[in-house]
């Protein structure tokens, strides 16, 4: 909200802050009213002064220019070239001196015009930014004192605060409200504005019926007869425009002015436009059409509170007035409405129809129900002053159930306890009084019986807050008031006593940290993508059935957002690969021909029947790896998909879990994966994810000319039973034995299957098995390959004999021949 300091000064003396506004801003900020910006109007007229043309002559080199000697109060006249025609010797003028910056960033400097030096500029109203059009330069009154700053001379030296009023401080959404706050902070007198008013003899013209006591707690108004609608006088127009409100006419301007003054919205009806000279406050009719004063048409639902005459809605209560009943140039009789509408109702109407007005903002924050008649009279007085007319002798004041405010009991001991420093009753009471609260101090004695008010003895202050402080409801509200007024800087910095035993961290956090640290140590950079994605993109990647079978279920369809910012962020993600593949593309297109990224996070789905939650958020991690590193030493690198495989294997090893990579049948492979370079992850009895190369077609579509590998894993499943504590075994004192053998096998047989069989049949002597060579071509027919294995055998209790080694090797080979019909080379 824009606040004028000169305007504020009408209600509380703050004149000294016009030159030092930052000090006042600090005081407001320290009390919880954030001053976001300070605008100094005089800054616009820096180096602009009043001057006197003491000599006027022709420019020697130009017929159309004059050469003036201008006294600007500097002791020595300035020579100024001027192209205007309306000035003469002896005129008082406005001079922009070098250093002035006029509107439009027009900097004035010493210059030569047609070889003659000009030491400034005589200004027109347009050049000063006062009007959009003007003729000639400004000629000031004869008696004008020379050398005055133009800002002060013309009264354009106001200072404006942009105040960010928090939602609880409805009472500060006005100049008077803010002045009241300042009067409390600085302990200065508050001057509440009133206008003299001559009531006439006529009775109020409009008959008002209040039918909805829930949404309208109090309705007041008064009529005025025979007014003349006209333009507002300068003072009113200037006040409104200075805080960004357009001037319309004297009537509308008064209602806006009084609203900005008191924070209470008002509405002026053309009394003769109200059919039957009647108003009723009741809900709208369903599907009823309503046109607001600016011509916007709305269809009402029926739950909006309206002000209606005999035939139709004439205003949306507290939000906006109707075109059918507003003040026009022809209006002569007015009914002025000043009401108290419930914040809830106004907010709902305003939100549903998407209309936010100065009025709806103030009503929805909460207005002062007791100020209504004061406001009526202030506005009526001003209207009478500016537009003439006879004010009705009586008011409308419908107040069927006046809001009663409860007195609040504050235990002074509580104030000190909550703030952490000792507080005396007298200090507390002093601030409450400055807030215009009524206070009464009593002393309560400790009561031995439990459950009664006083557990300990001490002073209790009974506080009645003023009616405009709608936010003050209970003890803690008043403790907060005291705290902020007394100063937050008085709160000491003590450290809480640790009495409670620390709890465990959430498992999701611990697990995610463990995984993320392990993967990043494997050379991957952590990515963080939005949790919502483009549905089309996601549908290319995520296939419900296939991901379900891979242990990566995320509900059936993606969870949509009802009000997304754009299609790109309109559904919740079901796979982390959406984001990571976008990141690959982003980086590849910026010259990163190789890279590794991973992400840990949640995916989203609708829950199945299970009771409790409506949505599920499974925990996942995913990896991408693309390109080959261009390394001085590395030759013959593994394909990217094997890089991912070894990362996940390392992960499983560090987690002390048993992980297998399993071949997939064609119909199990997700469409994004290369059908010939893909494997599912089998972890201790469960499929928990997959790895694979990106499908070549997709790679081409992205124009990525390198290897891309992806993998996604269910984090929760992988972290089952963690942490697993290592249980060590004694180191065997006996030597291990290595045996190598090469097997000829069809390429269709997964080597992993063979390894598993070797592990099974080699027990218990087998310590480990390694694949160290795969050979195709040469003498082998298409579809055949030779795979070389090295097994390491060892006994914990004795040195192995040749016969034992031979027997163990034979047992392995026999098992392989039996199971796969493969033989050594």
């Amino acid at each position: 909200m824009k606040i004028s300091l000169k305007w504020l000064n009408d209600y509380v003396d703050i004149a000294e802050f016009l030159t030092e506004p930052a000090r006042l801003a600090r005081a407001l900020i320290d009390a919880g009213l954030e001053v976001e910006a300070i605008e100094n109007q005089a800054e616009n007229f820096k180096n602009v002064v009043t001057g006197h043309i003491i000599e006027l002559g022709r420019h020697p080199n130009a017929d159309k220019l004059t050469l003036c000697q201008v006294d600007t109060g500097e002791g020595r006249p300035r020579q100024i070239v001027c192209g205007a025609k309306n000035h003469k010797q002896g005129d008082k003028v406005v001079v922009a001196l070098p250093g002035a910056v006029l509107p439009g960033n027009f900097a004035i400097q010493l210059s030569k015009i047609r070889d003659v030096e000009s030491q400034g500029m005589l200004c027109s109203e347009t050049e000063l930014g006062l009007k959009t059009e003007s003729e000639g330069i400004v000629i000031l009154p004869k008696e004008t004192k020379v050398g005055q700053a133009f800002a002060q001379f013309s009264g354009r030296d106001d200072v404006f605060f942009e105040v960010n009023v928090t939602p609880n401080r409805a009472d500060c959404l006005s100049h008077l409200g803010l002045a009241r706050e300042i009067s409390c902070l600085l302990d200065r007198k508050l001057k509440v504005p009133t206008t003299e008013l001559k009531a006439g003899t006529k009775k109020n013209l409009i008959d008002v019926k209040l039918h909805d006591r829930d949404l309208c707690t109090r309705y007041t108004g008064r009529s005025i007869f025979g007014i003349k609608v006209a333009a507002s006088p300068d003072w009113l127009r200037d006040r409104l425009t200075s805080v960004g409100v357009n001037s319309i006419n004297n009537i509308v301007d008064v209602t806006n002015f009084v609203m900005l003054e008191f924070g209470q919205p008002l509405h002026a009806f053309d009394a003769d436009a109200l059919k039957g000279h009647y108003l009723s406050i009741e809900k709208a009719k369903a599907k009823e059409k309503f046109k607001s004063f600016d011509g916007t048409e709305f269809e009402l639902k029926g739950d909006e509170l309206t002000i209606r005459d005999k035939e139709r809605a004439v205003a949306l209560a507290g939000v906006v007035g109707g075109l059918n009943s507003g003040v026009t140039d022809a209006t002569t009789n007015i009914f002025l409405e000043v009401a108290h509408f419930s914040p809830k109702g106004v907010r709902r109407t305003s939100r549903k129809l998407g209309v936010e007005t100065d009025s709806s903002l103030r009503f929805s924050r909460g207005t002062d129900p007791e100020a209504l008649l004061t406001v009526v009279d202030r506005a009526m007085g001003l209207i009478q002053q500016l537009a003439g007319g006879e004010v009705s002798k009586d008011y409308v004041d419908l107040n069927p159930a006046p809001i009663e405010r409860q007195a609040i009991k504050v235990k002074v001991a509580h104030v000190g306890e909550r703030l952490g420093y000792p507080v005396e009753s007298a200090e507390f009471v002093a601030w409450m009084k400055r807030l215009h609260c009524k206070t009464k101090v009593t002393h309560e004695k400790a009561s031995p019986s439990k459950g009664t008010v006083a557990k300990e003895s001490g002073d209790v202050v009974t506080v009645e807050a003023p009616s405009y402080r709608v936010d003050i409801e209970n003890e803690i509200d008043l403790i907060e008031e005291f705290a902020r007024l007394n100063g937050y800087d008085k709160i000491p910095e003590s450290f809480p006593q640790v009495v409670s035993r620390p709890l465990d961290h959430a498992a999701t956090y611990v697990h995610e940290e463990r995984i993320a640290n392990l993967i990043s140590q494997e050379g991957y950079f952590e990515a963080r993508n939005y949790n919502f994605v483009n549905p089309k993109w996601q549908n290319e990647i995520y296939e419900t059935e296939k991901f379900n079978k891979l242990g990566l279920s995320a509900g059936g369809v993606a969870v949509p957002i009802l009000n997304p910012l754009s299609e790109d962020t309109s559904v919740m993600r079901q796979t982390l690969l959406c984001g990571l593949l976008t990141n690959v593309l982003h980086n590849y297109n910026r010259g990163e021909t190789a890279g590794r990224l991973f992400e840990t996070g949640f995916v989203f789905g609708k829950a199945t029947q299970e009771a409790g939650a409506s949505y599920i958020e499974p925990h996942r991690f995913a990896l991408v790896c693309w390109g080959a590193k261009a390394d001085l030493w590395s030759k013959g690198q593994a394909p990217a998909v094997f890089e991912i495989k070894s990362t996940i294997q390392t992960l499983a090893r560090r987690l002390r879990g048993k992980l297998d990579f399993r071949a997939m049948t064609a119909n199990e492979v997700p469409a994004i994966a290369h059908p010939g370079q893909v494997a599912s992850l089998f972890y201790e009895g469960k499929t928990i994810g997959f790895i694979g190369a990106l499908h070549p077609a997709l790679r081409d579509e992205f124009k990525i000319r390198t290897d891309v590998a992806i993998g996604e894993v269910d984090l929760t499943a992988l972290m089952r039973g963690q942490p697993r504590v290592p249980k060590t075994q004694p180191i065997s004192k006996f030597q291990s034995v290595e045996r190598d053998f090469a097997l000829v096998m069809p390429t269709s047989l997964a080597v992993g299957e063979v390894v598993r069989e070797i592990e099974k049949s080699g027990a218990p002597l087998l310590q480990s098995v390694h694949v160290f060579d795969v050979f195709k071509g040469g003498n082998f027919t298409e579809g055949q390959q030779s795979v070389a294995f090295r097994v390491i055998l060892q006994d914990q209790a004795a040195t192995l004999s040749d016969a034992q080694v031979q027997a163990a090797t034979q047992k392995i080979l026999a098992a392989l021949e039996k199971k796969f019909s493969i033989k050594p080379r």
Binding site: T166, R169, I476, V498, Y509, F525, E526, I561, G595
Partner: protein, 339 residues
């Protein structure tokens, strides 16, 4: 006679040894002169023929000659081996300014780094991490936090709605509600996580991160809150950091305070980061509103608490001098490699 032979062989051997060019050749010479079939061994045959009276003196001469030759051998061998090692060193010389094999070095995301650092600092004084769902009930995200239905922050333009009862959480504070309802006080928790607002421009991301802390105990004051925050910012920003409280309004705390800390970059002198003020706004805080405690079934006369929350991106921006919030979600390697 024999004596002359001894002298001749010793001289020949010494000359030969000293003329050797490599250890292998030297060794061959050693075999030739001193070996079992070597010249000295052959001499021993002559020695056998000597009259016994001459034997001791002659034997001594032979042994002395052999010993001298062994010495020469050792000296020459040492010299040759040294030369050989030097040659090898020269041959094996590597330019260690060349790069080593690239061990891929990854890193955590700055968001995660900030969350972890904050967590570690607060875990030392007994705070434990709590998580909550991102699709949150309207009640946990708003009503239970004392944000009634007609509060501005519930406007459509701020909140992403999932259905009429669920939203994408707009703050991490619903985790406070979950903890208050499920766990028995006293406790102290920190809740990091992604939050969502329908707002996207140069300084707002619709998906960003918050971390908040809450302590619930029997007697809790604003002073305790300030002390805890002072400890936190001094650990996070530097020991000479100061804090400042400004009154503010949050529906779920009362009294509420904005937390400023002295600018860690200019140490309070005024710079671009702090807009010349010397202070940086880092988050909101306050005592847990008794209405929130009551809503979660705790008696506000018995239990009190404080809570505070920070924007994680803001912390990262201050700590790592990040100039564009898009960096947090683009996952550009040129950015991520800097951590």
């Amino acid at each position: 006679m024999l004596k002359d032979q001894i002298i001749a062989i010793e001289k020949a051997a010494k000359d030969a040894f000293e003329g050797a060019t490599d250890p292998k050749g030297l060794y061959d010479l050693k075999v030739k002169y001193l070996g079992k079939q070597g010249d000295f061994s052959l001499l021993m045959r002559e020695f056998g023929k000597l009259p016994p009276a001459e034997k001791p003196a002659m034997g001594q001469s032979i042994n002395e000659a052999k010993n001298r030759l062994e010495e020469v051998y050792a000296r020459v061998e040492k010299k040759l081996k040294h030369a050989e090692t030097s040659a090898a060193i020269e041959k094996e010389r590597l330019d260690l300014t060349l790069p080593g094999p690239e061990r891929a070095a990854g890193a955590r995301h700055p968001i995660a780094m900030v969350i972890n650092e904050i967590t570690q600092i607060l875990a030392r004084v007994g705070f434990s991490v709590r998580h909550g769902p991102m699709i949150e009930t309207d009640r946990n995200n708003f009503t239970a936090l004392n944000i009634p239905e007609d509060h501005p922050s519930r406007d459509l333009q701020d909140t992403f709605y999932i259905d009429d009862k669920h939203v994408l959480r707009t703050q991490t504070s619903p985790i406070q509600i979950r903890t208050l309802e499920i766990e028995k006080p006293p406790f102290r928790i920190i809740a990091p996580g992604a939050v969502f607002r329908c707002d996207s421009d140069i300084s707002h991301s619709p998906n960003f991160y918050q971390i908040e802390g809450m302590l619930v105990d029997h007697k809790v004051s604003m002073a305790d809150l300030r002390g805890t925050l002072l400890y936190f910012v001094q650990e996070f920003m530097g020991k000479d950091t100061k804090t400042r409280f400004r009154p503010s309004f949050f529906p779920f705390t009362e009294p509420s305070a904005e937390v400023d800390c002295s600018c860690p970059i200019c140490k309070g002198k005024g710079c671009r980061m702090c807009k010349q003020s010397g202070w940086i706004e880092i988050g909101g805080s306050g005592l847990v509103n008794p209405k929130v405690l009551a809503h979660c079934g705790l008696d506000p006369e018995e239990w009190q608490g404080f809570a505070f929350g920070f924007g994680v991106e803001r912390m990262a921006i201050i700590k790592y001098a990040i100039d564009d919030i898009r960096n947090f979600s683009e996952n550009d390697l040129r950015f991520l490699r800097q951590f």
